[in-house]
Symmetry: D2
Subunit: 346 residues, 4 copies
Amino acid sequence: MTDKIKVGIVGGTGYTGVELLRLLALHPSVEIVAITSRSEAGMPVAQMFPNLRGYLDLAFSQPDSAVLAQCDLVFFATPNGTAMKLVPELLEKGTRIVDLAADFRLRDEQEWQHWYGESHACPELLDQAVYGLPEVNRAQLKTANLVANPGCYPTAVQLGFLPLLEAGLVDSEHLIADTKSGVSGAGRGANVGTLLSETSESMKAYGVAGHRHWPEIRQGLSLASESKIGLTFVPHLTPMIRGIHATLYAPLKSGKKDLQNLYESRYKNEPFVDVMPAGSHPETRSVKGANHCRLAVHVPASGNTVVVLSVIDNLVKGAAGQAVQNMNIMFGFEEDAGLKIIGLVP
Amino acid sequence: MTDKIKVGIVGGTGYTGVELLRLLALHPSVEIVAITSRSEAGMPVAQMFPNLRGYLDLAFSQPDSAVLAQCDLVFFATPNGTAMKLVPELLEKGTRIVDLAADFRLRDEQEWQHWYGESHACPELLDQAVYGLPEVNRAQLKTANLVANPGCYPTAVQLGFLPLLEAGLVDSEHLIADTKSGVSGAGRGANVGTLLSETSESMKAYGVAGHRHWPEIRQGLSLASESKIGLTFVPHLTPMIRGIHATLYAPLKSGKKDLQNLYESRYKNEPFVDVMPAGSHPETRSVKGANHCRLAVHVPASGNTVVVLSVIDNLVKGAAGQAVQNMNIMFGFEEDAGLKIIGLVP
Amino acid sequence: MTDKIKVGIVGGTGYTGVELLRLLALHPSVEIVAITSRSEAGMPVAQMFPNLRGYLDLAFSQPDSAVLAQCDLVFFATPNGTAMKLVPELLEKGTRIVDLAADFRLRDEQEWQHWYGESHACPELLDQAVYGLPEVNRAQLKTANLVANPGCYPTAVQLGFLPLLEAGLVDSEHLIADTKSGVSGAGRGANVGTLLSETSESMKAYGVAGHRHWPEIRQGLSLASESKIGLTFVPHLTPMIRGIHATLYAPLKSGKKDLQNLYESRYKNEPFVDVMPAGSHPETRSVKGANHCRLAVHVPASGNTVVVLSVIDNLVKGAAGQAVQNMNIMFGFEEDAGLKIIGLVP
Amino acid sequence: MTDKIKVGIVGGTGYTGVELLRLLALHPSVEIVAITSRSEAGMPVAQMFPNLRGYLDLAFSQPDSAVLAQCDLVFFATPNGTAMKLVPELLEKGTRIVDLAADFRLRDEQEWQHWYGESHACPELLDQAVYGLPEVNRAQLKTANLVANPGCYPTAVQLGFLPLLEAGLVDSEHLIADTKSGVSGAGRGANVGTLLSETSESMKAYGVAGHRHWPEIRQGLSLASESKIGLTFVPHLTPMIRGIHATLYAPLKSGKKDLQNLYESRYKNEPFVDVMPAGSHPETRSVKGANHCRLAVHVPASGNTVVVLSVIDNLVKGAAGQAVQNMNIMFGFEEDAGLKIIGLVP
């Protein structure tokens, strides 16, 4: 195939990095030409991640902007604050970018600085960046040069709330998102708090006072709604590796609507959003390793509150899979190229 | 010790049964005289549960009301609908009862019938039964002959909401309880739905349309509040054995209060309710195997919603431990007798 | 593609069944025409297994030999003792068979009867059946009409021991196979023993006195060796869903050999057996969802014992994946068609 | 109680430390006077380990030999190589010591240096130290001033092999110990390798080439046997928090013996070793949180190999519980004081 694009990955040793490799190694239109890691330069990737043995014959390399600039597309799977330092140069040289970190997710420079604790290195690009939620911004993504791949919680929460807000059916000032994430969402860093012995057989909330995904979600919901957004967001650490379950609550403005039909209509052309039949309870495992978001919408007996259940795999639709979906849109591939993956059950 | 009471357990093969045995086998004031199981009569208890080897030298026996009537106290660790058929006879003979199932939890006969799908066998006892939440009904428990041990979710949710409702600080018509339970809460029955291969590495909600603990919680909260209760209750199956994490949301009536102080005052004399310092995120593992409920109260940035985090071990404070606590109160033992157990961490 | 083969699956509700569906639904040369289940006939498959939503639009049907006989290939994912009753008729009508159960794994009728507790329904076919371990019987599989797909433990253990026995380097009378399996190996039946609450956070051996995979392994090893086989086989239930880790011990006949080279040579043309570099410790997760067997061979300090580490996914290389690999060989497809799957890490 | 002993703990922030605290906080004859941690000095212990809230009102302190020297007993729950630097001074001042690390486990200075990679700081004490396996050295422990608490694997393996070796029934040159440990055995350090996302849903061997517990086990078995010991030891990391399952293999010298009786006789007076009935398969969960070792002995069909199954909780009988048992023996307390704990099932 002469028409494969050249792809580079900056920061390949974390969970989003290895997940990108799992997806891209089998993608029909992609050639991976560089995977960088300062700390592991020289080590064959498949030595660190033996699941890739036989599928990827490449070693980690030092980040080198000359090499990266020869790529058609560079994914950043780096900690927050890294991409923004390299992106301007690469864009200038014509390389397109998908940043899986948070550097370009917020449009407001001040808000970014507040939540991420440093000045933004290229605030002038914040407006240019397209927020990579295909279900909202597919048209812009086709021509985007800089894509801000959404956070994991924001993906699950926005896809769950959007139909209600777009239709103006709920009191948008009293939204609640109670979200549960597998531990891989905390990354592959060496931290006591994510050891198996600390997190298995236990459940806890965290970041109740404030979490960086809160402004990102609020920004997305505000764009979808004509009203002010009031959102209480409580994430929980759940004893599993992968998966996000978002349980969303919103006060119904008046009486019952045909919400099932609303959701099915909103997402009927979406390849990766699956509205389940009325009465369903989606399980995170149904999307384990897959790029789907499964949704169910309920109005329990009391009748004044909508409950939306939204599940994704935090590393796929919540990170690397969505990044590949964005790439597919940007380069005119089939949107599900490399993403025809069935959730691993059991 | 001549003053040990004689205790019987009806239905000893489930998880609440074996947990009762774990606690009672080491209780200084209890002699276990009978453990019944129709299906396993004759089998030594420690053969089914080898953790009890060396601590309990008793076999399962057929339920025999003559034997049970010689007990000072009989615990029912049976499926719903069993206790109500035996309790009247035992009460008449002077045996006191703690029912760990739901037969006597609802005061309203019609509501019981609606949720449990059969007629109640002794509705005249519903008024007499004391709801066994010591933090609410300690005085009545001292003299109670029939105690309805609360459900697991209702314990975690009520202890979390009570201070707010008693003080009238929240809009009681828009309460939300998002609850997460370990799989042992579903019991020891042979069901596909609770196999490890079905529930591990996954998260899901269930019973969104209606759950039997909903009327029980609503009843308790109504008694504590002067206002009407509107409650949305969504339970989730969590990939762990033990533990309940209840995340509770309530709209604050007006502005911020000193909720930390409110909670500390409400529970300052409670041996098993621990209000954690402001800003805490209790973990379920901190109460694994222990009878404590740990609480934290937050008001996130937006300022209009209280978030309460409440954790218990569903088999201890949510079942067998609370039953022993009730027994201790009923018989005048130290309230923490047999319950001085530190959560198993890690 | 006009050259897709028609495939049927008998017994589609267990874990090997759903795993076959996951693999076959995306296989480029297969059309699934029937999935039978007596108990679930009429139910859409994707209703029971929502991970298949969007990938498989088929309902369970009653087993109907007329329908099955129109298939080019029928997989049996049934309990032991089922396939043998239907296979003769299907073979006669020209349908080829891969049985994922044990009906045709043992060549000796008496031994089969001893271990499976009933008479064999078609002992005359035992000789005709080809044992579906491609690494041993690839040539015969190409023309086989009846394939006995190996058990999960036998796959991991035989692939680990074969090079040593074929080369005659070890004392074959003192082989030890200490094997650890995820809980999915016990199937999707409703059993107390495989509940999450019974198997999570625990490890145990089982079947030490005798296990049905023992004669199967011994048969395979005997065919590979010129000496008598003495095998101690101890399986263990491990708190995870998928994966088998076989730790194999054999006394070396004399001194150290270049075992690394032996293993690499033996498997160098095998698409699904990966001999890791010297000193490696393969993890089961490196093959989670994938059809690979990863091996490492060690001779610890003492020098008189070889230790082989062999990992597979019990549902893939240990069941459905190997069945698809066998199908690929039988029908002349690329051997890895539908099996280019990278292990899901993390 | 005027006769409580004063106890200090050096290194209280790891898993053996917090487990010691769980056990000692409720011990009737112990007063904990100091818990040291260089890194956390000043922090209340119950802030780091909220399960201890209400049971322990003490803060971590800087290690101070003057304070420690006032203790009757000091436990070292430190990394290897720490205790040996402080022990001589404390012993001189009359403080007795239980070291839970490996500093005093090996009698041979050269071997210690080989395996632990540094010179021993007080080799003259190696002979004086008593190896704290009560089932072997109870008499010496009563008067010991310096106790080397055994490693977790060595406890499970030695208790399993001892009766066979003492009776001379097996070929001691071909012993195999295939051991499986929960992840807490690797400690509470911040390591990628023990993250939940790395270790859950996976099984692997490690240290096949050599593990520090190998010389410790060999030393203990050599003392019990009149023959030379040849031991192959393969540890495995198992996806659970607590528990060790040792599966032990030994060639029987000649024919079947009444091994069940041998084991029952050997351990009949041992409070913490439970020989299960013939045919049993002990589960690690049966000792979760408890100080018991449960054993079962099998001779599978082939008849030439004994299989012993031995389970402990690595943090209790494999560390802190055995340390408390040793303390009880040293100070003449009831041997099970503070250790009457039933395994947490489920």
